[in-house]
Amino acid sequence: MAFMGDTMNPAPLWHNGPTPGAFYNFPGNSSTYGPGSHPASDFKAHSASPITTTTTVIGLKFDKGVVIAADTLGSYGSLARFRDCPRVMKVNDLILLGNGGDYADFQYLKDIIEQKIIDEKCIGDGLQLKPRSLHCWLTRVLYNKRSKMDPLWSNYVVAGIQDGEPFLGAVDKLGTAYEDAAIATGLGAYMATPLLREAVDKGGLDEQGAKALVQKCLEVLYYRDARAFQRYQLGVVTADGVTVEDLAEITPRWELAHMIHMK
């Protein structure tokens, strides 16, 4: 696992600093550029920007579990390039994982997570990875990558059942992690969270209500987010296990459009 770094041998104390007896060249100072002043390592190529991207992923807790939903569009800049990019994944019977951001980075980490689960099953002790552990693990992986200035350009939403209680947490590409009852990433942070938080504050959400609300959020996003799509995937995790439903489609109601007047 190259991305984990060498945890037993951390970087030396005087790392990135001036050579003893020399002046320190502050990073970003123009005098540090130019031919001759570049060690070969400066030319290392980094995937510092996303290529095929996906947009919002929504997570919402209800009384007995958590629901996650995301559309299936992979955008290539402003081009709606790939229309079948599922990004809600069942990890095991306790965890449901959603993703938004660079799709290649998701596929890379998805393979690693799937291998983790296989390795765990091979031990055969009946123990299962719990959502808070996966959430924490993702934090470390993403933080280590960002510290190498070679980030995995993704937001992850981890849903699951932690010791009988619903769990919902998010991690972004820097390793910023938090838990909440309602999470929406990307443009959904601006357009879906107000709807979600209103329902959470009111309380008494059940599975049906949560699903309906999440679908409503996807519809709102489809109307306004230019990178959103009508086909989506929805997953639910309860104490009974994880289900990722078949792809579904929003039925858009464009007849509303005449009410919006351009000035």
Partner: protein, 232 residues
């Protein structure tokens, strides 16, 4: 690093804008700590935000490091998580090595060293450490991101730190006042002041709000308290 638009502006293509990776984020939040003769109180708001959006309204930013030491940390949340996790590991290692928990001044020195270790890629965190020292007296230590450490009796840090510190200087340090005599600060007054100070921070700073999570450290242990702030 070499990039076209920065170093060869005449070759830059207009319109094709590259997203540059920025390893730091400002997730806001404020901490205030006040030390008394036999106690220390520390409070931090519970809002975790980025730009104009709020990640969550209930993020605790106080970390109990021992029975008499609490760290309040705000700034870049991913760095806070990493730093505090490392600190907690170091606390446990010390306990196993010495069969006692680390004293607050020792934690304060260790934190300074740990921050300076990352001098050239710092943890972008504003730390305020509060606790009881070896004599049972309250103490507060504050830091800059690269490990400068200073002991004081009261300190405000984080996004509203610069707004709150003068208020504390006046109310606790009795600065810019005439004909006043310094008297020991009772715990109730420190607690009331801490709440007042956060109420005014929430009025002016968009990164401070929702709730304050307060820890009161005395010789009898650590007491918890929650106080609501405005949520807009």
């Amino acid at each position: 690093m070499l990039n076209v638009s920065g170093n060869f502006p005449e070759y830059a293509v207009p319109g094709a804008k590259q997203v540059r990776f920025e390893p730091y984020a400002d997730n806001g939040g404020s901490v205030v700590a006040i030390a008394g003769d036999d106690y220390a109180v520390i409070g931090a708001d519970t809002r975790l935000s980025t730009g104009f959006s709020i990640y969550t309204r209930e993020q605790k930013k106080l970390f109990k490091l021992s029975e008499r030491t609490v760290l309040g940390a705000t700034g870049c949340w991913c760095d806070t998580l990493t730093l505090t996790r490392l600190l907690q590991a170091r606390m446990q290692m010390y306990e196993h090595d010495h069969n006692k928990s680390m004293s607050t001044p020792a934690v304060a020195q260790m934190l300074s060293t740990m921050l300076y270790y990352k001098r050239f890629f710092p943890y972008y965190v504003s730390n305020v450490l509060a606790g009881l020292d070896a004599d049972g007296k309250g103490c507060v230590y504050s830091y800059d991101p690269i490990g400068h450490c200073e002991r004081s009796n009261y300190r405000a840090g984080g996004s509203a730190g610069a707004q709150l510190q003068p208020l504390l200087d006046n109310q606790i340090g009795l600065k810019n006042m005439q004909n006043v005599t310094e008297v020991p600060l009772p715990r109730e007054k420190a607690l009331a002041l801490l709440k007042d100070v956060f109420i005014s921070a929430a009025e002016r700073d968009i990164y401070t709000g929702d709730c304050i999570y307060i820890l009161i450290i005395t010789a009898n242990g650590i007491q918890e308290e929650k106080f609501e702030l405005r949520k807009d």
